[in-house]
Amino acid sequence: MVYISEAHAFDGVSPNTARNAPLVEEPITFEERFAVAGKCMVSLSLKRLPAVVDGIDNQVNRNYQAQPDRMYLVGKDGKIAYAGKRGPRGFKPKELQKAIRKELGLEVLNPQAKVVETPQTEQE
C-alpha cells in the first residue's frame, strides 16, 4: 500500500461528509498523514499489509499520477508490468490479479472462483 493524499477530505476539493464516511481533514504535515494512514489500516483491518506513506510533498503520488487511487505492478526487473488506469473507474483489482499471476508464471484463475475467508491471526 502506498498511502497518499486523501480522496475526499472534508476540507478538500471533493469532500464526502455522508453518514459513515470517515471524516478526515487533508493532512498538512507528514506526521498527520502517517497518523491517518495508521488509523485507516487499523479501521479497515489491514494491519498485516505492508504500507508506506507518501511524503507531504505528494511527489510519489505525482510520479505515478495516482490520485485518488491507482494500481501498478512492478516486475522483478524494476519495470512496470501492469499500469492500471486512474480510479475509481480505472481501479480494477481483477486486472492486477491477472497481472500478478502472469508475472509469477501462474495460470489465470477462473473468474467465478469463490474466495474462502479465513480468520485473521497475528503472526509473531
Partner: protein
C-alpha cells in the same frame, strides 16, 4: 465509501493492498511452491451511501472543537491555520470565517471542485508498461505494539523504517496500490 474484506493465508511476499473508494476482497492462496503465492482480488464497486437529510454530519462539531479557540462560534483563518485552500474550501459563503452555516450549506457534497492541479499535473505522465518504475523511498507504516517492537529490536529483528522500491529489483515483483482512507 470504503469497505474491505480480507482473507489471509500465510502472508505473501508480494506487496500490498490499498483501496480507497471501492470495496475489495483479497485472498491469498498458498501455491505448491512455498515461495510463490498468489493474490486473489475481487472488487465490488460500492455506491456512496445516500446523503442523510435527517442527521447533519458532525463536521462543524469537529471544526469547532479543534479550532474555535475563542469560542465565539466562528473560526477565523488565524484559528484554522491549515492553509488558504483548505479554508476557502470550507468557507462556503466566502465571508472569511467558518461557521456552522457554511458546513450545513455544503451538505454531503461529493461534487469535485476545480481539480487539484498540484497533484493531477497533466505534464507528469503516468509510467507505462515496460518503463522503469519511478523509484522512491518512503517511510514504512508499522502497526505493532510498543512491547513487540522492543522485543524484536532486542533480537536484532527491528523493521526498517523506510522502504525503497528499487531494493526489490531482482528479488520479487511489487504490487503498488495507491489510495487513502477517504
Amino acid at each position: 465509501m470504503l469497505r474491505w474484506k480480507l482473507c489471509l493465508h500465510p502472508l505473501s511476499e508480494l506487496g500490498l493492498a490499498v483501496l480507497s473508494t471501492q470495496s475489495v476482497i483479497l485472498g491469498f492462496s498458498p501455491m505448491l511452491c512455498a515461495a510463490t503465492l498468489t493474490l486473489t482480488l475481487l472488487c465490488q464497486q460500492e455506491e456512496p451511501p445516500a446523503s442523510s437529510s435527517l442527521a447533519p454530519p458532525p463536521v462543524w462539531e469537529i471544526l469547532k472543537e479543534k479550532y474555535d479557540t475563542n469560542h465565539d462560534g466562528k473560526i477565523s483563518p488565524k484559528e484554522h491555520k491549515r492553509g488558504a485552500d483548505a479554508f476557502a474550501n470550507l468557507d462556503t459563503d466566502g465571508d472569511g470565517f467558518l461557521t456552522q452555516a457554511d458546513i450545513e450549506a455544503a451538505g454531503d457534497r461529493m461534487k469535485p471542485r476545480p481539480k487539484d492541479r498540484k497533484i493531477r499535473n497533466r505534464l507528469v505522465l503516468a509510467p507505462k508498461v515496460g518503463e522503469v518504475a519511478p523509484d522512491f523511498e518512503l517511510r514504512l507504516l508499522i502497526l505493532k505494539d510498543v512491547d513487540v517492537e522492543k522485543k524484536e529490536a532486542a533480537k536484532g529483528q527491528a523493521h526498517p523504517q523506510a522502504l525503497r522500491l528499487s531494493s526489490f529489483i531482482g528479488k520479487k515483483p511489487v504490487a503498488l496500490i495507491f489510495g487513502s482512507y477517504t
